[in-house]
């Protein structure tokens, strides 16, 4: 009995007011990889709908600088925004015994009403000064919260002034007020722009290495980057900069040294890839280190790009070594997970990437969708030209980049690129839908209401989302795997990460604890066999 997905769609929409239903309908479709379908994405969430989405500030602070340890990130605004983004994203970092690490700290101007009335620039300046005097960091970043833009504080002017004043400390700001855009996504774009403008290429230091790459869109949740770094090291690949797991802003400044950009999370950082290609001539390719097969494929892509026999051999050696362990784990676990079902509603890339892992476990992804992605993340970059820019997106600055007079250098000839393109798909991303099964549901920006209906109708064995959904779903007796925080587990990247994931999911879908939920008196009604009745 295959479920009637059309019917389920109708059920999900029925409760909505007509206008809302009409809008939400465009964000849902029944997938068929054989045909192109258009999904509505990156549009406003209907007010009152309980959405998974956060704001631009979250996207901006979280995505690139949050995971970097050598920068003092000052939130300019009331205390809340800095408090909630304090250590809550599990971007792990390894500063070594005495390296710099400001990630465990929370910095804020703690705006008061007087600052709202009379302006907060003075307080911001003073705060930057105090941070500088206390820590003498090489980098200070300022993040604007909602009121800042409205009261007209010019964080960029302040940053510029303080930067000049200090001389030995780069200070730069972000106009990432929470109300901009429609989700975290706008924040990613803003972060990309400012990092590119103020940081990338600031240093002309030369990084040595035969096979130099940058990794983008890998945020070292639960130690993923540690795993990938280890793989690259063993293959003899030099990681110039990671944007931005286990990262340092110092490295961003030298990123132009790389000869290839590999990108994990297309959504959050593809802008950076394009801009670096334009300015420095660094080609970029989409990779995915989530899933053993995907990891192997990604390593081979890099080897193919550099086209070096030794590198290729090392890559194959590493893959062989790792796959042996992976196959061992799969052999044990897959019999217990085969045929089980998963739903993934999260982020801008994980809802796609993690399908790889479920496939490797023999599990079927029956519904998926992103929280803050765009159409290209669903349908592939081929649709980019056809995406019309709405009011919310138009407000986000689009930098126009030109080739760097001195430092632009094509890494390959046109012919070389063309030859490699079929395998590597430069600057390409297929998106989620082509890789998802037929008769599966794709839903963008799913609401609580819709997910609760989905769970009732399709009873997945595991549901993947975030902390806000975690206990709602589990209260319905379905285990939820957080794919933002990994439920404080992980790493899940690379081969060892894949094995971790198999084991965690095996535990979740096969645990007996759910069987404890129903009390025995709900099964056999008590009292019937009573030996006597109390008076």
């Amino acid at each position: 009995m295959t479920p009637d997905l059309e019917q389920i769609k109708k059920d999900m929409l029925r409760q909505y007011p007509p206008k809302v239903a009409k809008k939400r309908e465009k964000a849902m479709l029944i997938n068929d990889p054989a045909y192109d379908q258009q999904i509505q994405a990156n549009v406003r969430t209907v007010p009152g709908i309980i959405s998974q989405r956060g704001c631009t500030y979250a996207g901006c602070k979280g995505v690139v600088l949050g995971p970097s340890r050598d920068v003092v990130n000052i939130t300019h605004g009331p205390i809340g925004c800095s408090f909630y983004s304090w250590l809550t994203r599990r971007n792990q970092t390894d500063p070594g015994p005495d390296g710099e690490n400001y990630m465990t700290y929370c910095f804020s101007t703690d705006m008061q009403d007087s600052n709202i009335v009379f302006g907060g620039e003075g307080k911001l300046k003073q705060a930057i000064q105090e941070a500088y005097d206390l820590f003498h960091p090489r980098h200070i970043a300022v993040f604007s919260t909602c009121p800042v833009g409205l009261i007209g504080d010019d964080v960029h002017a302040v940053a510029k002034e303080m930067k000049e004043k200090f001389g030995d400390c780069n200070v730069f700001g972000f106009s990432c007020e929470g109300y901009k855009g429609v989700s975290q996504s706008a924040g990613h774009h803003i972060a990309n722009n400012q990092i590119f403008k103020h940081v990338v290429g600031r240093s002309n230091e030369i990084i040595e290495g035969l096979f130099k790459i940058n990794m983008l869109g890998e945020y070292n949740i639960g130690g993923d980057a540690f795993v990938i770094e280890d793989l690259l090291r063993r293959c003899g690949i030099t990681l110039v900069a990671s944007f931005s797991g286990n990262s340092q802003v110092d490295d961003f400044e030298r990123a132009q040294n790389a000869d290839l950009n590999i990108i994990m999370c297309h959504r959050s950082i593809n802008y950076m890839c394009d801009m670096m290609e334009k300015k420095f001539g660094i080609p970029w390719i989409k990779v995915n280190f989530i899933g053993a097969e995907a990891s192997a494929k990604s390593l081979r892509k890099i080897a193919a790009y550099f086209d070096d026999a030794g590198l290729k051999d090392r890559v194959e050696m590493v893959i062989a070594e790792e796959m042996a362990k992976v196959e061992l784990a799969i052999a044990q676990i897959r019999p217990r997970t085969e045929g089980k079902t998963a739903m993934l509603f999260v982020g801008g890339s994980r809802a796609h990437h993690y399908q790889e892992l479920f496939t490797e476990m023999g599990m079927k992804t029956i519904a998926a969708g992103y929280e803050f992605a765009h159409r290209d993340d669903y349908e592939g970059r081929k649709v980019l030209p056809t995406i019309k820019v709405d009011a919310d997106s138009r407000n986000i600055e689009e930098l126009t980049i030109e080739a760097d007079a001195e430092r632009y250098a094509p890494r390959k000839t046109e012919d070389e690129l063309a030859a490699l393109d079929t395998e590597l798909q430069f600057a390409g991303y297929e998106g989620m839908m082509p890789e998802m099964g037929k008769d599966t549901l794709v839903i963008d920006d799913i609401s609580h209401w819709e997910s609760e209906k989905l769970i009732k109708e399709l009873k997945p064995d595991v549901f993947c989302a975030g902390i806000k959904e975690k206990y709602v779903v589990q209260k319905s007796g379905v285990p939820l795997k957080q794919l933002h925080s990994y439920d404080y587990g992980g790493p899940y990247a690379g081969f060892t990460g894949a094995i971790n994931f198999y084991q965690d999911i095996d535990r979740m879908v096969n645990t007996r604890v759910w069987s404890l939920i129903r009390p025995p008196w709900k099964k056999e009604p008590a009292g019937i066999t009573a030996t006597f009745v109390t008076q």
């Binding site: 989405r53 205390i79 910095f107 209260k475």
Partner: protein, 460 residues
């Protein structure tokens, strides 16, 4: 070291807050609103606020936390959020069908000057609020006060939205429990019940944020104060408000608008604060204190007399919210511990003075700071200047505790890395026993782990 850049020497800061001991108003309003049965809290601002608050409360309670948002975009921020809120109200009643929507503002909607009163009225007039349903609001500008202020504001608005003055007073009292855990609210009700006092308690998050696992998600759990109950609070004989910072405003409003007199007490944490709460219940009910309560008290005091040597003279650093800190400090002083450092990000002129009253003669060396820049960075610096034997505060304290090797007791908001705080009370005599057990475990575990082997003790 996790906090490796924190210098020992304190330098006065005028603008920069580092590692805050507070957060912003709206989350307090959201928590308070969840203490009304059938209520959907609503955040009038951009999506992020609601998302952040739901996430933090979800992590603290490991429970579903449902709330909606006006999802401001740049447009709304320019033209005002009325359209968003009206649309939200319509959608919410259609989809989630709450008994009541409790709206709170944000720094965004406050900065642009949205008039929540007018918008809520427009929603009612526009028929967007079904018959028998309610919408209430409170103003929670994030740039004033703290999360405690937001809680207090919502509690006051709950009172002012439902209370009607009556000449005839009913045979009941109001209890405003303050920002405490569901388990604490449950315990306060148990004690009032044993004292045979008819009461309405608001807000009440017990059976809301400690809901059982039943295999189905109940969107509106059975707990929470009901609207009929709220409609009766104006006719109560009196109000017991627990905790000045979280509960006094609502009590004041009921006094001035409904002539319901109130007594303001500390949170009933520890022996003497609980004594005052019980005595107040006895006063209003005229009932003698039942033996069961007296026995609970006697067991608490018994632990104190048995274990006093382990409490005596220990230096303690505290951070958190004023109502908790005041009550807890009095308890610690009764144990002859020394709360030498106390910080709270929540402003309030009376705090330092009240703290001095408690610590004055017994802990003259104590350093107390609250309000702006009364943060954990400062607390950590004080600890580096002169160490303490125990640290008490929310989960963020664990970074200081590990760096400095200090025994650590989790208490306050938020607690993100343990369970128990929502299920076992710290108020009342039983709660005092739990606190003592936690403090002793922290101190004795530390001793067992670090003492030289010849000093390892079997009996303690």
């Amino acid at each position: 070291m996790l906090l490796r850049h924190t210098p020992e020497v304190v330098v006065e800061r005028e603008a920069l807050t580092i590692n805050p001991a507070k957060t912003c108003q709206p989350i307090g309003a959201m928590y308070a609103a969840l203490g009304i049965h059938g209520c959907l809290p609503h955040s009038h601002g951009s999506q992020g606020c609601c998302s952040y608050h739901r996430s933090t409360l979800s992590r603290h309670y490991k429970e579903p936390v449902m709330a909606a948002t006006s999802s401001f975009t740049e447009g709304a921020s320019v033209f005002g959020g009325q359209a968003n809120l009206l649309a939200a109200v319509e959608t919410i009643f259609a989809v989630y069908n709450p008994d009541i929507i409790a709206v709170h503002s944000t720094c965004l909607s406050e900065t642009i000057g949205d008039d929540l009163n007018q918008i809520c009225q427009a929603a009612r007039d526009g028929g967007k609020v079904p018959a028998g349903k309610h919408i209430i609001y409170t103003n929670t500008p994030s740039y004033i006060g703290s999360h405690v202020t937001g809680f207090s504001n919502m509690v006051r608005s709950i009172a002012s939205s439902f209370a009607k003055p009556t000449a005839e007073k009913q045979n009941q009292i109001n209890i405003i429990p303050g920002w405490v855990e569901p388990a604490d609210m449950r315990e306060i009700k148990r004690l009032a019940g044993m004292m045979e006092v008819p009461f309405v308690m608001f807000p009440d998050t017990s059976d809301v944020l400690d809901a059982p696992q039943t295999g189905e998600h109940v969107f509106y759990p059975k707990g929470g104060v009901t609207i009929p109950e709220l409609e009766s609070i104006g006719s109560s004989r009196s109000t017991i408000a627990l905790g000045q910072y979280a509960s006094e405003d609502a009590a004041l409003w009921l006094d001035s608008h409904c002539k319901v007199p109130f007594s303001l007490l500390n949170l009933p944490i520890g022996v003497r604060a609980t004594d005052r709460f019980i005595m107040e219940l006895a006063r209003v009910s005229g009932m003698p204190v039942p033996e069961e309560i007296e026995d609970e008290r006697g067991r608490l005091v018994d632990i104190i007399t048995d274990m006093q040597q382990y409490f005596h003279g220990k230096r303690v650093a505290l951070f958190g919210d004023p109502d908790q800190l005041l009550a807890l400090s009095e308890f610690l002083v009764d144990l002859e511990m020394k709360p030498v450092y106390v910080v709270s990000g929540t402003p309030g002129k009376t705090f330092a003075a009240k703290m001095r009253e408690i610590l004055g003669d017994t802990v003259p060396e104590a350093k107390v700071k609250n309000g702006e820049r009364a943060d954990m960075f400062l607390l950590h610096q004080w600890i580096k200047e002169e160490p303490v034997d125990l640290l008490i505060g929310n989960t963020y304290g664990k970074y200081i505790a590990r760096d400095e090797g200090i025994p650590f007791v989790r208490m306050g908001f938020p607690i993100l890395d343990r369970v128990g705080h929502s299920y076992f009370p710290t108020v009342g005599y039983a709660g005092g026993m739990r606190l003592l057990e936690n403090i002793l475990n922290a101190l004795l575990d530390h001793y067992d782990a670090t003492c030289p082997e010849p000093k390892f003790e079997l009996v303690m």
